[in-house]
């Protein structure tokens, strides 16, 4: 089933065209990688989907509903969870409370104790069980990223947007993270759209990859197809015609 649909999405900041006519689809159950050079507009695309930024033109549809003009919190309750490239924990609140904030919305009908249990469960899933009372601001970056993940999962998402969750990890940790994401995806029946510049990870885990460059979707396909696409190679290695002088 078609879960997310982007139709000619455009967004510019002053003169910068961060997104230009981006049209793409994500099927339910897929894990889709989003790559592209720095400043390509990947994060902006996430922000548009999540409603943090409103696009200038185009349409975003989620599960058949037009959510282009929805406010962020409503989009979240519809089932889109996300993490942030630059982590944004609720710094003065404990890890448990961070997750409880999300549960207070997504699990309104449940009792307080049930919610606390669920929050503890989620923290355990991402490996933060020991730190549930630690203020989120005191965590190290990796733990903050874990917390982001737990918090996003607590919104009961159908679609999870992950923005560079692996960035900054060493190769051992990357391996662990990949395993975690894979596990979550199965346990929670998630559809995932993720941005990553650790190619190893993205190639290994994604069903499909979208490539953005200067705001335009220049390629999409399986990891295999994408890695052999001329435009993609050019976007990374440069246009050889420019270097001829």
């Amino acid at each position: 089933m078609l879960l997310l649909e982007l139709n000619e999405v455009s967004k510019s900041f002053g003169g910068v065209k961060a997104l230009e006519n981006v049209t793409a689809e994500v099927q339910e159950g897929e894990i889709v990688g989003l790559i592209g050079p720095n400043g390509a507009g990947k994060t902006t695309l996430f922000n548009v989907i999540a409603g943090v930024i409103k696009c200038d033109r185009g349409k975003v549809k989620f599960a058949g509903k037009d959510i282009t003009k929805y406010p962020t919190h409503k989009i979240s309750t519809l089932g889109i969870g996300r993490t942030f490239q630059i982590v944004r924990p609720f710094a003065t609140m404990s890890c448990l409370e961070n997750v409880l904030v999300a549960l207070s919305i997504s699990e309104k009908s449940r009792s307080k104790n049930e919610r606390i249990e669920k929050a503890q469960e989620l923290l355990e899933t991402v490996g933060l069980a020991e730190k549930e009372q630690t203020p989120a601001g005191n965590l190290n970056l990796i733990d903050k990223k874990r917390l982001e993940l737990a918090r996003a999962l607590a919104t009961n998402p159908r679609l999870l947007l992950l923005d560079e969750v692996i960035g900054g990890l060493n190769s051992y940790e990357v391996g662990e993270a990949i395993a975690l994401i894979d596990k979550l995806r199965k346990n929670f029946k998630l559809t995932i759209l993720w941005i990553e510049h650790v190619m190893k990870a993205i190639m290994q885990l994604s069903d499909r990859i979208l490539v953005l460059d200067q705001g335009k979707l220049i390629c999409e396909g399986t990891p295999e197809e994408v890695s052999h696409d001329a435009r993609v190679i050019r976007a990374y290695l440069g246009d050889s015609s420019a270097s001829s002088s």
């Binding site: 970056l141 440069g238 270097s243």
Partner: protein, 233 residues
């Protein structure tokens, strides 16, 4: 001239630079290459005094500069074209250029330098009284380079020189840059590996905060493993 020695740098708990060393000699053109998030911009920010380093040393003409504020580093003769160009959008092109010559030693030779810069980038001459924010991306990049030139630096650092620019423009800018390097040493950060290697003498390749390769640009250009490394396959 510039010596970066075993620099470590954290942002929060995240280790961004893990012992980087590099050198820029007089009159050299050096490239720093690497994928997204490798730490190139952070390195430049560290050199310019915008980010504090945790350990290591940064020397410029033998003087330690790693604990100086940016404006003192600029005063020593390092100019920088930062990522995203950062022209003063609400000011005219002319005022932007003049701001480049803020430092006293540059202000004395302002006429001379401005002529020089305008002869390198003739297009700016036509835009002198236009608001910088209304320039196209390429023009803004030229303005940013021109502005940096206005301070008559000994070392010019450019982050993401070709980012967001049309190939023709990139070509044009590199042509100018190569003329520049007669008086100025250059440290250029690029993702566009091929272009960078074609236009520099020596290159360092960064990966997750460390230098993984270094060598003469021409040698690296010929190395097939480089291309591969960059698509991560």
């Amino acid at each position: 001239m510039l010596v970066v020695h075993n620099v470590h740098l954290d942002i929060g708990e995240n280790l961004i630079l893990k012992g980087i060393s590099l050198q820029v000699g007089k009159g050299e053109r050096i490239a720093v290459l690497g994928a997204n998030g490798a730490g190139k911009t952070s390195l430049i920010k560290a050199i310019m005094g915008l980010l504090p380093i945790k350990s290591g040393q940064i020397l410029f003409n033998g003087k330690k500069i790693h604990s100086l504020p940016p404006y003192e580093i600029a005063e020593l003769g390092i100019a920088c074209v930062p990522e995203g160009r950062r022209v003063f959008a609400d000011m005219t092109v002319k005022d932007n250029l003049l701001m480049g010559a803020y430092l006293p030693h540059a202000r004395n030779k302002i006429k001379e330098t401005i002529d020089q810069v305008l002869s390198l980038f003739p297009i700016l001459k036509e835009r002198m009284n236009q608001r910088a924010g209304t320039l196209s991306g390429g023009e803004q990049q030229m303005l940013a380079i021109g502005r940096a030139m206005m301070s008559r630096p000994q070392l010019l650092i450019i982050d993401e020189l070709s980012l967001g620019l049309a190939p023709v423009v990139v070509q044009e800018i590199y042509r100018v840059i190569s003329k520049l390097s007669e008086d100025v040493s250059l440290l250029i950060v690029e993702q566009n590996v091929e272009i960078a290697l074609n236009n520099t003498n020596f290159a360092y390749i960064l990966e997750v905060g460390s230098v993984v390769r270094k060598g003469k640009s021409s040698d690296l250009l010929r190395d097939p493993s480089i291309k591969e490394a960059y698509l991560g396959m």
